[in-house]
Symmetry: C2
Subunit: 496 residues, 2 copies
């Protein structure tokens, strides 16, 4: 009997998550300008109700009573996952949850406005507010380490700590910096003139829709729309929403945005229907989620085999724009390594240096060592030091990402974890199916998707992040496979 | 202090209404097919939470305590409105609310499927289920009259009863039947060949967007999309969603759908910002809401003055399709009176006879006098008897409306009340501003919108339906103004 009561409460919470997913999708896609601002009232009300339901002592009693019982593995894991969620929520006061939702709804449009007008001071008070709320949250969570950042990281990457992330980022930096230097030093400049030509929006959209379909995205259970900042959301495995963005003079943006979000979307659609409306219909961590988007975007989408298949198709859509462009030229162009300003447009080699900038800055923002007024300056300094480039405007600098405006700190490192895991997972898959590149050359993605479904997607949150990776790859988190992948690929491309 | 507590609860309930508004908008516009079916889980969870909050005894105590206090008129009316809502909700068990939401989410797609395939038996079990749930609801509400239909009507048209509606519909029928006979008997057949030409979708869409803008719809606080069945919804006065539908070979459908929904949308956008998140940001009844859509659609949108202004503009969009069509011909075409099968496409003279068919049938469905298996037959009989036409398929017959599939009974009469009130309101406005038709001829709608805002929209639910009409027009519900409007208009058009 207590299982049924527990399950009904879990369903309710999961439904509210789905509601929040639709509200936020709507806010980012179709809501009218003043409706977006007002949406904060509705979102904060739902979040507050969700919080109240989660911290309800009766749910705590049900969890305690079920924890003492002998249940099947799926049921028992559900109880554990809900216990973790509830324990964290009990520590955060409802008023803080509500205040954060309201602050976010003011912060997001202010950030957009600031970015549009290159006006950091317009955003600064909102950032201060979000950071103050994040510190309050970290203090309320009071992690065992006593480290505020650990508390915020744990939300996105359970069981991971700053102490674990820092050496990984260091090892990675030690591998990346010489690689980037060698590539830049090679003096090789792949042809890119054709990328600046005009690719009409509708035709780009059609290409992204075909890609989504080919990769296995199920349009009976999802859709794609456009938003300023691409994301994956929605209500459940039955209703997954991905977005993309299109620039007429940069066709690769929409293509790789879509493939990236497709990776997230395929993951969400791949949760087991048996886990529908349960705590198991979730990724164990954001890093694992990101491993899927990165695997599709980079390992697959930036492979030569992929473009052997798609370049002819894309050329029929853009015959003039791509006239005379060879496969080798196109493949080189989608893999140009070049220290640049904007993270989401960065190549896969320099990308993690962008993360390093953000990781170090957000550590200092949370601790208070870095006053927000100094953020633009420090951002420029770190960009110069790690990437050798300096943003001429804050819009292309510290205002480029939505994360802090949203109130997410501790999220950035999960991108790098995702990159590392994607290489490990791809290695494991290649051992399982050596003909993977023949598949890709033929535009056949079902075997890969099937394997990911079996080993990762369908498991949902039955396993932790570490368990997921170890079960799928047979090894713990490693930096070397990712570095080896990069070295082997870019040795060929840049002759280094 | 109790006001603040009461207000916070009222805000929460109003926010949940807004959430449900966005969820249902999404379900009808963009949700993927399987997401639409799954949406029932989320909707029923939110409805159930809303119900629990509304029936919470603490809210009852706050209402009782405030009812005994001396408050300002707006506050005191808020308390009354919430008391009515709560009293009704207390009577309906939460399980029934939840079951209805789930049944509805199965019923709606089944109805769509049945309509598409002309397959009434596919829909029948869902209709039986909805009716059974409606009867349970009516019994739970236990109206003073002991009449189940009164309980269901009251939900849409507070304070109105079957005993009040029946004589009105009778008086109307006695006026309409001879008028329709005279028009049909006139033998006059306005030209309509140009309506069957092809009007490309995008161009039609552009026309509807221009109309919305011209009439005063604020796109900062709203948007238009497409759906199978046009409706007005959204989250609040700051986020109003209207929809339209477009048929390439029937340009009037989109135009008048849009003007109709614009009437609803302008009403919602016209609520007072001081009433935001309160029980006063609402129409006092569905009939009053409909009076606004009908006023814009028929009194304004089907007037000769309106087309004196818009026909030249529409001709520039569709020059070939409307080549050689005179103003008189177009005006006659948008006012063709002809007994037909589909309510939403019916002219304003026969429209209320469609309502009569539905009103009588839903009375019999609720009482159980009419088994659902006989619905198609009885529908055909009544159509023959009142309108002289018989639908060849159920898709054009008893499956045409969403209402019963949605679980709405007692809604149809509000359309007729809206028609009657729209004529009374327009008479009052003409007394106030005799140059109204010069305004319309000039495409100037701000004076009318301003007057409606002042006398109706901005009042929201400060006044009941009857008080609203009497304050705006100086008279109670009357049939004669509507009949006089029709007679004078169609005397000219059909020479009767």
């Amino acid at each position: 009997m207590s299982w049924e009561l527990f399950e009904a409460r879990m369903h309710e919470l999961k439904d509210l998550d789905g509601v929040l997913g639709i509200l936020s999708w709507d806010e980012e896609t179709y809501a009218p300008p003043k409706g977006r601002i007002a949406r904060g009232d509705q979102t904060s009300t739902v979040e507050s109700i969700r919080h109240q339901r989660l911290v309800d002592p009766k749910l705590g009693e049900l969890i305690d009573s079920l924890s003492a019982k002998s249940l099947g593995p799926a049921q028992s894991t559900c109880v554990q996952r809900m216990k973790r969620q509830r324990d964290l929520a009990v520590k955060v006061p409802e008023s803080l949850v509500k205040e954060t939702a309201i602050a976010r709804s003011a912060s997001l449009p202010a950030w957009q406005e600031a970015r549009k007008n290159n006006d950091f001071p317009h955003f600064k008070p909102h950032l201060d507010r979000m950071l103050s709320l994040l510190r309050q949250k970290a203090d309320a969570l009071a992690p065992a380490s006593g480290d505020r950042y650990d508390a915020l990281l744990d939300e996105h990457e359970p069981e991971m700590t700053r102490a674990q992330v820092e050496p990984v980022l260091r090892e990675l930096r030690e591998g990346l910096v010489p690689l980037v230097e060698a590539i830049v030093g090679s003096g090789k400049k792949p042809r890119r003139d054709f990328l600046a030509r005009t690719y009409p929006e509708q035709a780009q959209w059609d290409v992204t829709m075909r890609l989504l379909r080919d990769l296995g995205f199920d349009f009976e259970r999802g859709r794609q729309d456009r938003s300023a900042h691409p994301f994956t959301g929605g209500a459940s495995r039955l209703d997954v929403r991905v977005t993309t963005r299109i620039f007429e003079n940069n066709p690769l943006s929409a293509i790789f945005s879509t493939i990236h979000e497709a990776g997230h979307g395929l993951y969400e659609q791949g949760f087991d229907q048996a886990h529908y409306r349960t705590a198991l219909a979730a990724a164990p961590s954001m890093g694992i989620h990101e491993s899927q988007s990165r695997l599709w975007e980079n390992q697959i989408g930036r492979s030569k085999a992929f473009w052997e298949h798609y370049l002819p198709a894309v050329k029929t859509v853009f015959p003039k724009q791509l006239s005379g462009v060879s496969l080798e030229e196109f493949y080189a162009a989608v893999n140009i390594v070049e220290p640049s300003l904007v993270r989401v447009d960065a190549d896969e080699v320099t990308y993690n240096l962008h993360i390093l900038v953000r990781f170090e800055i957000e550590l200092a923002l949370v601790s208070g060592d870095l006053p927000t007024a100094d953020l633009p300056t420090v951002w420029r300094e770190k960009m110069r030091s790690y990437l050798g480039v300096v943003p001429p405007t804050d819009a292309d600098g510290c205002l480029q990402d939505i994360h802090w405006a949203w109130g997410s700190v501790g999220y950035f490192p999960t991108y790098t974890l995702g990159n590392l895991w994607s290489a490990q997972i791809m290695n494991a898959y290649q051992k399982h199916r050596p003909q993977v590149w023949d598949d890709v050359r033929a535009g056949t993605f079902a075997p890969l998707l099937g394997w990911l479904r079996e080993n990762i997607h369908g498991k949902g949150y039955l396993r932790s992040a570490k368990e997921t990776v170890e079960a799928a790859t047979g090894e713990p988190l490693k930096v070397v496979p990712f570095l080896s992948y990069l070295r082997s690929k870019y040795r060929e491309l840049y002759g280094v």
